[in-house]
Structures are given as C-alpha cells and as structure tokens.
Subunit: 868 residues, 2 copies
Amino acid sequence: MNRRILQRLGPRVRRTYLAVLLLLFGLAAFWQPLSLRLAAAVERAEPAAAVSAALPREPSAAAEPAHAFQFFSPFTDARFSRVELAALLMVLAVAIAGLLYALMLARQVRRADSGTPKMQEIAAAVREGANSYMAAQFRRIGPLIIIITVLLAVTYTGAESAFRWGRASAFLVGALFSWCVGFVGMRLATVGNLRVAAAARHSYGEAMQLGYRTGTVTGMLTDGLGLLGGTAIFLIYGINAYEALLGFGFGGTLLALFMRVGGGIYTKAADVGADLVGKIEKDIPEDDPRNAATIADNVGDNVGDCAGMAADIFESYEVTIVAAMILGMASFGHKGVVFPLLVRGIGVLGSIISTYTVKAGPNDTSDTALKSVHRGFWIGSVISVAGFFLLGLAYLRFDAAYLATNPMAAAGFPVGGPAALPFWANFGSAGLDLRPAWTCLIGVFLAVALNKVTSYYTHTAHAPVLGLAKACTTGHATNIIQGIAVGYESTVAAILVIGGAILLSVMCYTGTPPMFIAYGVAMAGIGMLTLTGNTISMDVFGPVADNANGIGEMGYDKAAMEANQPGSYKRARQILADLDAVGNTTKAETKGIAIGSAVIAAVSLFSSFIAVIAVGSEDRIGLMTVEQYMREAGRLTVAAPSVFVGFLLGGAVPFLFSGMLLRAVGRAAFFIVKECRLQFQDPAIWQGTKKPDYGRVVGICTETAQKELIGPGFLAIGAPIMVGFLLGPYALGGFLAGTILVGQLLAVFMANAGGAWDNAKKHIEDGHYGGKGSEAHKAAVTGDTVGDPLKDTAGPAINPLIKVMNMVSLLTLGLVLRFNLVSPSATSGSPRLIGAIAALVCAAAIAWAVWTSKRESEDVEAQGTAKV
Amino acid sequence: MNRRILQRLGPRVRRTYLAVLLLLFGLAAFWQPLSLRLAAAVERAEPAAAVSAALPREPSAAAEPAHAFQFFSPFTDARFSRVELAALLMVLAVAIAGLLYALMLARQVRRADSGTPKMQEIAAAVREGANSYMAAQFRRIGPLIIIITVLLAVTYTGAESAFRWGRASAFLVGALFSWCVGFVGMRLATVGNLRVAAAARHSYGEAMQLGYRTGTVTGMLTDGLGLLGGTAIFLIYGINAYEALLGFGFGGTLLALFMRVGGGIYTKAADVGADLVGKIEKDIPEDDPRNAATIADNVGDNVGDCAGMAADIFESYEVTIVAAMILGMASFGHKGVVFPLLVRGIGVLGSIISTYTVKAGPNDTSDTALKSVHRGFWIGSVISVAGFFLLGLAYLRFDAAYLATNPMAAAGFPVGGPAALPFWANFGSAGLDLRPAWTCLIGVFLAVALNKVTSYYTHTAHAPVLGLAKACTTGHATNIIQGIAVGYESTVAAILVIGGAILLSVMCYTGTPPMFIAYGVAMAGIGMLTLTGNTISMDVFGPVADNANGIGEMGYDKAAMEANQPGSYKRARQILADLDAVGNTTKAETKGIAIGSAVIAAVSLFSSFIAVIAVGSEDRIGLMTVEQYMREAGRLTVAAPSVFVGFLLGGAVPFLFSGMLLRAVGRAAFFIVKECRLQFQDPAIWQGTKKPDYGRVVGICTETAQKELIGPGFLAIGAPIMVGFLLGPYALGGFLAGTILVGQLLAVFMANAGGAWDNAKKHIEDGHYGGKGSEAHKAAVTGDTVGDPLKDTAGPAINPLIKVMNMVSLLTLGLVLRFNLVSPSATSGSPRLIGAIAALVCAAAIAWAVWTSKRESEDVEAQGTAKV
C-alpha cells in the first residue's frame, strides 16, 4: 500500500472507528429495549431462528416458572442494600476515573516536545504503518465479528430473549473494548516513542516518565474499560448476568487472539525478513535505512508488543472477572459478585496512585529508574492488599438474614455456619469471612512468583542465561540444545507455582462444594491481575523505549546537537540505550502473568462448564444443586475413554496451532525477502541516494499477517465445536483440560527459551566470550533468531487460544448438549443430523486451514526455487 | 577401564549372568513354595513387615471368606477345559519354539565368516566396550533391583502371602528378562556387525540376511521371553495372577527405563563429544582412528539403539499383555485372559515364518532388500490377522454355561445377551463374539499407520524433510525453526491416529461397562505388538548395518582385496553403504510403535488403577461391582481441583525429565572432550603413530552414563509416590493422565524433529543445495546435532518413563489408599504420619536429583572455564 494513501487513511480511519465504537457501545449497552424489539423482528424473519425455536425444549424448562427478568434489577432488588448499590456506582466511577486518568496522561504525552522534523518523519512512517495494519485488520475482522454477533443471538438456546441479545451485544462490546485497548495503546506508543526520543535530549527523568506514562495510558485503559464493562453488565442484568458476561469475555478474547496472532506474525516476519536480507545476505547493519524492511520491523514492535500484549492482558482481565462473577453468583450469592468488582476498583485506585509515583531525576541511571518502577509496583500492591482486607472486614459479613435470602451460600460454611470459621478466616469476628481476601492475596503472590520465575530463567544475572552464553562457545547446536533444556525446566517451575497457588486457594475452601472452591481459584485470578495498570505500564514501556532508541539512532542530528551543547548527543544516546535496557527488563518480568492468568481463568471457568452441563442450559445455572454438579463432574473423568480421547485431541491443538504460526512467520518472511531483494536491485537505493519504498514492505506484512490469521482462527473456533458435537460434552471437557495443560507448558517453554536465547546473545554482545563478531556470537544469534518466533509469535498466542477455546465451548455448550452425536439423551434423527453437519463444517474449516497452510508453503517453495 | 581387563571380563561376566539368571528364574517361578517359607521367616524377622502387618486392615477384608488360593490352579479349576489347557501349554511351547528359533539364528550368525584379524580387532574393541558398559550397569542396578524386590514384598497390603512373594519374584524375573533381552541383543549385534562386514565381501544377499537375522534373534528373544513369562505366571497363579503380572510388568519396565536412559546418554555423549573435539576443534573426519572417542561412539550405537530399544519394546510387549490379562479377568473371565495369550502365540508363529522369508540375492540392491523386509512384515501380518480371526471363530463362544460360571461376563453383552450381537461381531453365528479379534485388527492398523506417519515426517521422500533441507539454505536458525514446526505437526498426526484407534476400540464395545471397554483398548495394544519379532528385526538391523559399515571403513584391507579380485573392495563398500541406508529406513519406520504402545498400555492400565481404588486393595479386584467402579471413576474428574493439580504436575514431569537428560548428555560430552584433548596433546597420537587409549573414553562414558541414570530414575519412581501420598489417589490418577498426554506429545515431537533434521542433512549430503561442505550443509549439521539428543536420548526415554510411573502408581496404590494425607477415610495420626514421611522422602530424592544435576553443571562449568 502506498504511503500517501496511508497518510490520508490514518486519521480518517481513526475518526470513523471512534464514531462506530461509540455508536455501537451506546446501542448495545444502554438501548437494550431496542435490541429486544430487533430480536423479535429477526425471530420472525430468520428461518434459522425458526428452526431453533421449533426444536423440542427440555421438559424441565417448560415446567419452571418464567423468570421475572427485568433490566437494572440491582436497583430494585431488595437483596441489594443501598450501601452495596452505592459501592457499585462508586466502582463505575473509579472505572471512569481510570479512563480519565488515562486521558490526562495521554494529553501529557501528546503535549510533550516532539523533536526535529527528521525524527518526526521516521516516527510518522512507523505510525502510518501501524495504522494501516490496524485498519486492514479491522476490515478483515469486522465482518467476522458482526457474523458471530448474529450467530450468538441466533443460536441462543435459553428462553429469555433479553439474554439472547444481551449475550450478542455484550460480545460486540467486549470485542470493541479489546480492539480499542490494543488500538489506542499502539497509537499512543507510536506517539510516545517520538516524545521519549525528544525528551532524552534534555533529561533522563523526563524521558523515562514519558515512556512509562505512555504505557500507563494503555494500562489504565485496560483497567477502566474492563471494570466499566463488568460493572455495567452487572448493573444492567443483575444476578442473571451470566450470559452477557460470557459474551463480553468471548468478545475480548477473540479479538485478543486475532491481535496476538496477527501482531505476532507481523512483527516476526518483518524482523526475520529484515535480518535475512540485510544482515545475512547483504551484510549491512540492523536498521540500515537502505533496507526496505526496516520501517516494517519497527512497526512490528508496536503491533506485536503493544497492541497484541495489551489486548491479551485486557482479555485476561475480563475473563477473570467474568469467571469470578459467575462463580460468585452460583456460590455466595450477590456478595460473591460484588466483592470482586470492589477489589478490582481498589486495584484501579492502587494503579492510579502508584503509577503516578514512578519518576526519575534528570540525571538518574537505569538502576534508579528500575527501582522506581518496582517501587511503584510495591506501592500498588500494598494499597491493594490493605484495601481488599479492609474492604473484606467491612463487607464480607454473612448473617442469618443474608443466608435466608441467599440460601446457596450456606453450603460455603460447611461446619457450624459462618460463625464457626477458623481464626485466620474471620480474625475472631463471628460472621466475617475473609477467605475471598486471602485468595486474592494468593493471587498477588502468584503474580510476584511468576515474575521471579521468568526473571530467573531469562535474565543475564542468573545461571540459566549465563550457561547458555557459555554453551555458545561450543557452537550453534549446543546453544540450541541447552536453550531447549532451559525452556523445559522453566515451564516446570512455572507450573509448580501455578499448581501451588491453585492448591492453596482450594485449601482455603476445604470442605465446601466445588463451586465455592472454584470461586476461590477465580479470586486468586482477580488478585493476580489486581495491578494490571502497573503490569501493562511496565510491559508497554519496553517497545516504546525500544522504538525511541531506534528513532534516536536514525533521527538525531548529531552535528546540530553537538554544536548546540557539546556532549549532548552522546548523553542523549546513552539515556535512550539505558531506557531500552530498563524496558527490556520490565517487559520480560510481566510475561509470566499473561499465561498464568490464562490457566487460572480457564480452571475457574471449568466449573461453569460443568454447571451448564448439569442444568442443561446456561440461564438456569442458578438452579443447580450440588448433587447435579457432582454427578456431571463425575462423568468428566479421564477414566472414560471418550473423555480421554477428547483430552488427547485438546493437547494436540496447541502443538498444531504453534506449528501453523511458525510456518506462517516463515512464509511471510519469504515474501518480505523477495520484495527487499527486488528493491536492492535498484542501484540508487543500494547507494543510499534514493529512499526505498518502505510502504510496500509494510503493505506486504500487513496483508500476509491478515491472511495468515484465518487458519489459526478457524482452528481455535472450530476445534472445540467439532469435538463437542462429535464426541459429546464430556469429551469437550477433557478437550479443554488437555488444552490448558499442554498450552500452558508449551507457551512457557517457548516464551522462556526464546527469552533466554535473546539475553544470552545480549550477554555476549556485552563483551563476554569474544563479544560481537566472534564465533560464540554467531551461535548466540542463531539462538536468538530461533527464539524470536517462539517467544513473540507462537508462545504468547497460546494464551488467548486457551481462553477462546474455553469460551467457545461454554457458549456452544447449550447446542452441544442438544445436538451432539453421542449422548443417549440426544434423540436420533434430525438433532443428530444438525450436530453432524456442525461437526462436519468445523472439520472442513480446520482441514481447509491445514491444507491452505501446506499449499501456500508449496507455492512459496516453487517461487523460491524459481528465484534463488 | 583397561582393555585387557575388559577382554578377560567379557565372557566371564556373561557366563556368571546366565547362571544367575537361570538360577533366579528357577527359584522365582517354579520353587514358589520355598519363597513362601522364606516369606514367613522374613515376616517374623523384619520389623517393617511387622509394622505393616500391625496396621488396621480394612473391615471388608476381614469379612470376606479367605481365598482358597492354590498354585497351578488352571490345571485343577473346572472352568478351564482340556482344550484350553492344551492351548495354553501350546502357547508355552510356541514361546520356547521362538527362543529355540532365536538360538538357531544366533548359531547361524556366530558360525558365519568373521573376516580378517584387523576387522576382528575393531569389532572386539566395540564389543568389549559394550560389555563393560553392561557389566557396570548391572553392578549399579543389581542392588537396586534386589532392594525393590524386598520392598515390594514388604509393602504388600493384601492378605494372601503367596501374592506377596509372587509379586516380588515376578518383578525380579521381569527385570531379568528385560535385561537379558537388552544384553543378548546387544551382544549379538556386536557379533553380527563383524559377520555382515565379512559377508559383504562376497554377496549382498548373505550380508543382508545376516544383518536382518541378527536383529531377528533379539526380536524372537523378546517375543519368546515375553510370552513365556506371561503364560507361566498365568499357569502358576490362575485367575489371581494380577499381582504377579504387575510385578512382572514393573520389572521389565524399570529395567527398560534404566537401559534407555543409560544407553541414550552414553550414545549421544560419545557422539557429541567425538564430533566436538574431532570435527569441530581438530577438523578431522568422523571415525578418524586418532580420535580417542571413535570406539566409544560405535559402542554407543550398540548400547543405545540395540540394548535400549530392545528392552523398551520388550516392556511394551510385557505391559500390553499384563493389561490385557488383568482386564480380561475382570471383564470376560478366563476366556478374556486366554485369548490374548493365544493371539500372542499366533504372532510369534507369524514372526518365525515371516522373518525366515526375508532374504536377498547375491547381486540385489537396497530396493529389493527393502521390499523383502516389507514383504516379510506383510506376510507376518496376514498370518497373524488370519490366525486370530480363525482362533476367534473357534474359541470366542459364550454360551449360557460359560456365563453361569463367569457371571461378570454377562455385562459385556448389554442387550439380549451373546446371541444379540450385531452381524460384524458374530458373523451371524449366535454366541460368537469376535470383538476381541476386531480390536486386535485395529491394533495392527494402528501400528501400520504410526509407521506411515513417522515415515512421512522423517523421510527424504516427503515434503517435510525436503522443506527442511531447503530451509538450510537460509541458515541455521531457519532450519531449527522449521524443524520444530515439523516436529509439532507430526506429534499432532500421531495423536490423531492413536486417538482414532482408541475411539474405534471403544466403539466396538459400545454399551458395555468400562472394564470391557478398557479390555478393547488393551486388545488393540496386543494387536499393535503382534509382530514384535519383525519390528525388532527391522529396528536392530539399523545399528548392525551401521556398525558393519564402520568396520568396513576402518577394517577392510583395500590392497589385499583388490589384489585378490579387482573391483571387490568398491563393491563390498557399496554393499555396506546400501545396507546402512536400508537399516536407517527400517529402523526409523518402527520408532512410532514404541511410543504409541506406551500410550495404549497406559490407557488400558488406567482402568485397573480405578478398579483398585474402588475395592481398596489389589487382590480383591475381581470382587468389584460396576457401581463401585463408576463411583470411583467419577472422583477422578478433572473438575476436582486436586485432580487438576495432579494433572498439571503429571504434565510437568516429562518436561523436567527431558531437561535433565539433555543436560546430562551435555555434561557427559564435556568429560569426553576433556579426555580426548588430553590424548591429542601426545604428539605420537596426533601423528597417528601411537594408538589412542580408546578404553579410557569408553570407561568415562560408562561411568558418567551410570551416574546420570540416578537423577531421572529417582524422578520416575519418586514423583508418583510423592503425589499419591501428598494429594491422594485421585490426584495421582490426574497425574498419570497428564503424564501420558504430555509424554506422548513431547516424545513424538522430539523423535520426529530429530529424525527429520537427520535426514535433511543426508539429503543435502546426497548433493542437494551444494552438498557436503556448503553453507547449507553446515546449517543441516547444526540441525542434526540438535536433533541427536532429542531423538536418541530424551524422546525414547519418555516411553518407559510413562509406563514406570503407571506401574509405580499401581503398585503403591494400596499403600497410598491407606496412608495418604487427604482422603477423609485415612484416619489422622500415625497413618498420615507414614504418608507424610513417604512423600517427604520422595520429595527429598527428587530435590536431590535436581540439585545434583545443577551442582554438577556448575562443576563442569568451573572446570570448563579453567581449561578453555
């Protein structure tokens, strides 16, 4: 795509999106009655809906009294006290405060000095590339989102049509929020990088603060939108929010998957392509302006590390609150729902306060800057932990009146009722139940422990990376073997930490029914992501500082700066290099949290999955008995061969998915290499007298990344549907368990092995074992290149993959229960036919994805042979 | 160790072993009453046994009538017809015939021409190295085996002391058989390689036949001993054989684990060490006689590929028959037990006939030789399939009288009894039940399909390897990335095939209780390993031909041969190269079966696991009701958080285990490099005038391989015991499920990625992309070196790991049920204390293993820094 078109497209696209976003959000969330009328119209018109309506409803559904559902029920429901309503509204206010804080920081960043025209030009090229990618992705994904929205509405199996459209519109809102977080985060990163480079000319502290605050904008957007969505849905749907929450979570997750996958392919294709043609073929340095792929490489950092990561953590944030609220309703009643929202509110407050304290002096170094970032995290942690224990002391009181109106909560106090809890759970005050606060604390510790594990295995300060660097001295192969071993070990450490946290949460609820235990696990997830604002600030700081360093390298006018003030160029470059190092550290530290939260969220959603099987339909989840639950959970045993087969298939998906992504990166990189070679044939470009057409490479990256999205997307959505219809709901449960286990192991293995290789290379470049240019360095570069697609494409994409498959399973479960091919309850004949068709369609989609990926490879190879 | 000592030790050690073997087997299997008297004596003397006896027995155990157990009950039990007894004795005869056939072939091989003294000298050096390794391993493992034998006897929780010592002595016999298969197979391979090299000087056909028959000896030994053990145990213990079978399986599996791990470390340490110091540091070719590590490298091929692989397949052969017999007893009664034994007997006959047909003419080429090997496999398959269907037609008849004496079998005919089976199951003959034959057929297809999958992903004829070779042209990293993608995809294909086979087997038994379904899966395992004789022949042929090629390269006297008959040297070398290629192909084809059988065996053993939980003790497994089974299976749900945590831990073990092995190879290789460097400092050795001390390197390999065994061994045995006592029996079930899933995926990934890299290198060496010495070739060598420890050490060792953990879980389950820390039934106080101590001991052992592996690394690094 031509750069001029991009330039014109940028702001227009942005304005259009914002308008669409606001319109749709308004439509979906607040004009619910309108959508209901629409629903009625569609039901009359849509033949598919007619089929679904004509199907035999389960007998018990007909026998139950109709729900007297009404919107905004918390405001009229007698169970909610005025204080609770006020608190919920306060949470809403906190969410909005978070968004306003983000707006304020964004203005600060925008208003900062934006450097010289040369710097601006480079930054603009990167920004435009990033915009064009986001626009292309929106065009590609937009229709899909609309189709899924309609499908969600049409395939709803419950009785209450408010939920039908509630689910669909919440999906839309969730998707838009997720997209918005990724889009705005990336936009601001492409604005912030320039400001950081400009500020570095004057002051270390200013540059550092700008970089960190650029990250904080994304962080607070995540916090704010996540909390806003969850709270708004609860206020609108009250204790029946299950459907809408699921839709909301699914929307966020699906978008995150696409942004992770697309961004991951983009960034590594550009990176690998630029390196292959530049460093290896032409032997020119990285970021050489003659290489047509350099801008695409910088764009990749933004779309991959900013947009992808932000959307990813946003969906973790969403899904954990969804899980906690659903399980809270099914266990402790409305207090179980309100508490996680309040905890999140406290977390947002903690993030606002603590991120604002992160600053550095004009002449500070990377050490003090890192300390300040860490101090910010600790301040936030202390505020949050103190906050949710204080909140617990005030709010988590369960008296006889509460248990009378919320009878299901009684089972949560197995022996002797709320008064008989052990001391640690009530601090001696009868009726108090601090277990949710304790599980939140476990989550906070889990986040810290995962950071430490990641840090141990991927930092140059510790034995694993040092050993890798040493292994480079005996060649490429020993480095790779050792790196694989490090990755294997690190994934064991991570799973021990996660398993330990789950076990501790479970022990807090010893003796209670499964839904309460699952609630404990979900609350650990809430605790884990309490400081999402700080986490994302630290994460986004990485690519912003990285890009700023690049802008400084290409855009600083050395002569002018030195003429103005001698030594200032060197000082500014040093500041940027320091910030880059700090950013790498903070970014790496947060990596463990994203995948850890996926496992915790998935484990807690598992209980909802069984609950839905138990009662046969999502909207009756509140009516479930413990006996029903236990009976259905028992059928989900690995001892049942069909469950075991589902389990094997589930374990295979992350491997297939990763294989597809690794291949996709290779294919995309090939096209980039081809284009760069073509441009190098122009002698003017090679001599540096003519600027290469960066836009063409950006366009290729954008186009192939979009194209390569489809296959993995089909796999993620199609696999659980196929397994569900073909092998039944229990096999689907086994499938999910297999995916969680293998996904977690594989994701951490790839992320940490890649991280360790990366830092082993840096360690050698710092002058060890012969430094740059030595044989050891060559081996280290091989390790780094192998690690790149593992740690930045395949590894992180598994995180949303796990959650998308979980969400798809939950959302289609109602249909699976009715139409699957194996359940004895599913009558033969037409329901089975429908299931068979659905399974067949999904199988065909997956087969097509695999086949396309193969065919394209052959294509590339044929072209490659012709050219090479 | 000095070579002369080795020379003297060789035959003496062998004779001692054979004597010990025969003595122990005689003691254990036929003088059972003696061991019973011993048992009584030990029970009086042993304090630990007294503790165990003093523990409260479960009340129901006391209430039941005592088993009227007697030895050799099948001969007196009225349920066994004369025909059945005759058939069982015939199976015993077939097993012995198989062993005699092996003996005959071994004589043939030994009597063949053994070449010139120079060739003999090289072969002798390799043989002695291999012997010294086996002797060292025996010294190291022997005491452990004795300790475990005693432990098994002491920790027996059942009431009947015949089983106590039956289990322990069967363990001893199983271990000895497994060791014997590995030892004899390897011994004969070191004899056969010389004969093949000698025969190649005259005739292609003769050389090929000698190589194949060398493999067949090991194959028939596996068949014969496996069948002999299973049948003898059944004849001795009758329908109460459960305990003894488990012990037998565990013995074989544990030895296989040690031989796999030790052999794997040995072979790759020698290989990598020889390459690092020879090819990379000194730039001399492979197998250069000046390199002190060359003989160790050749020894490694024998101890890794022959001994390790043979022991591994032997234990698969054992464990599948154990699973089928246990489940046969619990489902269809004695016919369910006798049928798999008969099927195995037919398989042995098929192998005898078909392996004998494999031959080639004096002037044949590798194409015709490969065809002959494949034709042999097909002949064997046809004989077996026809055999077990004919057998089924005659034997698998279930009339009212049978159902009256075996009432549990009735549940296997859900609607309308045996007469109402569908046509495919009884061919229209009421009372016939061919479902076991059909599931065997599924197993045969599974074996063929797994071979095809392996072949597709690792052969130079197919797209994956060709793509890898092409990727080598863009560098080391692209080759590695692509190889990882190929490995990921291949593991998905393998799991689809295995999942499909399980599903088909399950469908054969639709509507029956779980034990019958598990029996179907176990019978698929029996079918899969029917042609073990042929499979091992094909596998062992690989290293024999490889070694023969090496002997030809180093030992042929070119001048003398050419003087005698011009052109004969070139012709003989060509024959050896051709055979090497054929051997590589046949060896690779069989790889998929070993790991596939582990999964099938583990899945079928799962049901025994639940059955034991259901009835509380192993010896009452026959008394279990379907309701009990279903109730306990239901508690093994992934929805229970403790099961899920067990499941996460189980998935982590294969990663930790693989990481340990990869590191162990690195450490061992380091010591070899050090020794070789030392020897190169002697100018006489470097100039080739003095022979290096090969024995020292062999000694180092032997020593370090033994040392490195311990850590992974502790992990394999300790992890399930720890999880069982700490988290209870259900978490242990989840643990096993996690291990099976992740182990299967990881093992196939590593094996196939390694195989693909290996063959991509060969493809380039055949002259593509610049051939040997090109940049592409260097990248291919990196891939091959990375793949080596993956495909020959870590990958194959996971197969016995899965089964050892399964067996340990089954064997300790009685204790776990009594002493674990979580079951509400386990009373607090001293039983919990015992569990806590056991868990602690295991945790300490694992921690020690991990710590040792870390400390040793540091050691090596410190020495490395001092030297480099």
